[in-house]
Symmetry: C2
Subunit: 192 residues, 2 copies
């Protein structure tokens, strides 16, 4: 195997720099204000270096969005479902709390007509859901939950309130809140 | 008691027309693009008629937002908690599904620094939550759920996936999905 060449490394550095600049430009000026020229200038590269990799602003923004949404949230494995779910939800909340992440969430909520964006967003969400589903798979093996439980629905149910608070109501998300959500998911409200 | 004067009625018609025009302008151009002049023109009134009621664009947009978010979602009373929750959630989804409502949700997610907006948004959310809580109060009276259940948390838990799908993932919300959410809220995932 050959080691990465110097030009390959330089290419990756340019790519990362341009994508980071694109995220910052989005934060500062919003989608309409971003241009390939403004991103190139912010990244300190020639505009042709950007056009070589991304033909349109839409492609550049799509990659910046996907590059920023890191699907690798840490997946806990404490041996106990409740603790796993509390940790997982805290990790998700932390990953959404930076100004960059919030700006990206807002961007994701815009009705942008970008070819690859819808498919790419779907792929990232799917990958994240699959990764988190492991926590529920382990709970099935331990007999804590029934195998018939719809794991994606359960995770969506648990995490939608976090998205809603971060993006919409801006109510605080703390340990007590996350604990309350997990308990509701585990036991429901019905009197037994 | 006197009946409303003609000038009072005319004033209300102007107000409603301006607020509706403000919503449309927001939909068409986004927050940055709206001006009091463009709203006045779209509403077919003189710009001074707008300035007389709203001193700033921010005040106008706040009122347009509040005027549009109608907190009066129909509250079902079928005598059965599951059916009540399914109907309530369907009603919420329906109220969020118009292009205007989606645009308003996106606007609500923007980090706008508008004086009265935060307080007004809180007031609307509180009023809506109190109205919907009646469904859970009745279930407590019937013995279907325990009085200790946190009603606001339960409703937030049930409705956050609707907001998230409408605003963020754009996955479909249908009867089966809503039924699945309600069953999760009622019984949780824990094996008994």
């Amino acid at each position: 195997m050959s080691t990465p060449s110097a030009s390959h490394k330089r290419g990756k550095a340019v790519r990362d720099g341009v994508l980071a600049a694109a995220v910052n430009e989005l934060l500062n000026t919003g989608f309409d204000g971003v241009t390939i020229a403004s991103v190139a200038e912010a990244a300190g590269v020639h505009v042709t270096s950007v056009y070589r990799r991304w033909r349109t602003k839409e492609q550049l923004i799509t990659d910046a969005l996907l590059n920023h949404i890191d699907p690798a949230i840490e997946i806990p494995d404490t041996g106990d479902l409740r603790r796993d779910l509390v940790e997982l939800t805290s990790n998700l909340h932390e990953s959404l709390s930076s100004p960059q992440s919030k700006a990206m969430l807002r961007l994701a909520s815009m009705p942008l007509e970008i070819d690859r964006l819808e498919e790419a967003r779907r792929r990232v969400l799917d990958a994240r859901m699959d990764a988190m589903g492991v926590v529920l798979d382990r709970a099935v093996e331990r007999g804590e939950i029934d195998a018939a439980v719809d794991r994606r629905l359960a995770l969506e149910f648990l995490h939608a309130p976090i998205y809603t608070r971060v993006l919409l109501t801006r109510d605080q998300v703390d340990e007590a809140y996350i604990g309350g959500l997990v308990d509701l998911l585990l036991d429901g409200v019905r009197a037994h």
